[in-house]
Symmetry: C2
Subunit: 211 residues, 2 copies
């Protein structure tokens, strides 16, 4: 029984590792069922018996991606609210760069036909819940009645943070990649997209009176 589970689990682990490796190096185009099966040393039917086909493979990678997003929210203890926010910002921007394949999958830029499973959707909702919880602790106590309940204010803040950061990462992938000059000052505008994103986050923090 143990040996049988080990063999089946071994096949599953081999398949997922093969999928992750191919995905990190070549993106979604690199993870055909045939390519994964060949790299994992199984038959294409194994992708279906162990993982519900491409759907299961993409779900697993999607969940990996949201685990990375959750990890980006972990900051050092003892920092000021602004320092915490800036550290999480840098971690998120680096995620968008260093795990580009996972990032693109999360935001639908990998396989337009992919629809996350219920389990995968639950994990992304958890990620958003964690974001709301973490960013709410950064907000100063609110006094003004017009700003709505602290729950609503916390969620609006979380949304603005995420929309702004994701906006920069996505624009970097599709529009600004041609004009960002992380490495080359010869490009037209001569600016750094990450510094631009950091400045935007600082301005947002100031508008919420975080310092």
């Amino acid at each position: 029984m143990i040996e049988r589970n080990s063999k089946s689990e071994l096949a599953q682990n081999n398949i997922l590792k093969a999928a992750s490796d191919l995905f990190l190096s070549g993106g979604v185009k690199a993870i055909s069922a045939r390519a994964i099966a060949q790299k994992a040393g199984v038959s294409t039917m194994g992708i279906y018996s162990h993982f519900n086909g491409k759907q299961g493979i993409l779900d697993a990678l999607y969940i990996e991606g949201f685990e990375l997003v959750s990890q980006a929210m972990n900051v050092d203890a003892g920092l000021t609210p602004l320092a915490s926010l800036m550290q999480a910002t840098d971690q998120y921007l680096s995620l968008g760069e260093n795990y580009e394949a996972h990032y693109r999958l999360i935001f639908g830029e990998a396989d337009s036909g992919y629809e996350p499973s219920a389990e995968a959707k639950a994990i992304r909702l958890e990620s958003f819940g964690k974001l709301v919880a973490v960013t709410s602790t950064l907000l100063p106590a609110s006094g003004a009645e017009t700003e709505g309940s602290s729950d609503e204010r916390g969620r609006q803040f979380a949304l603005e943070i995420w929309a702004l950061l994701h906006g920069f990462v996505s624009l970097k992938h599709h529009t600004l990649g041609a004009i960002s000059n992380d490495d080359s000052p010869a490009k037209p505008y001569h600016w750094n997209w990450k510094d631009s994103a950091r400045a935007a986050i600082r301005r947002l923090a100031a508008s919420y009176r975080i310092d």
Copy 2:
């Protein structure tokens, strides 16, 4: 000569109209070469002789999308800077909803293998240039030296506007769609993603002292 050009142009127009119609109703999955050819009444070879294949079809749709983005920046004359900004905001958010297929294509959520042609990239750069020009006119005169040149300040503002709006539209497509309640108050959080985006833009405008 005229009749022959008309016939060739007729074929091109039929192909592009077929592609746009299928794209608007079914997204990128609906625009296979065979489906477009059948709907346009030509052979698949016609997609290649008139349009350089799928590349040319996607380029044409991509350009349509950026034309829509540029149109979203056209606002009524005589408005205050803040009213102009809010009108453009509403137009952009509606674009993300009503032309979802085009919007997804622009931001790489349609066909991960698609790389815009040089012509298409030039048109998107024009779009960004227009955004910078339009939003710069909304900024009050800057006095503080620490805020950088007015060109840099204008571009940073344009980027923040676009990152924020695109961030909201993209999150709506992929994460917040499950929790937005445009139509149904039964969903968990009971809020309106567009109102949230508007509030974020107002806050950003205030931080740039636009009113």
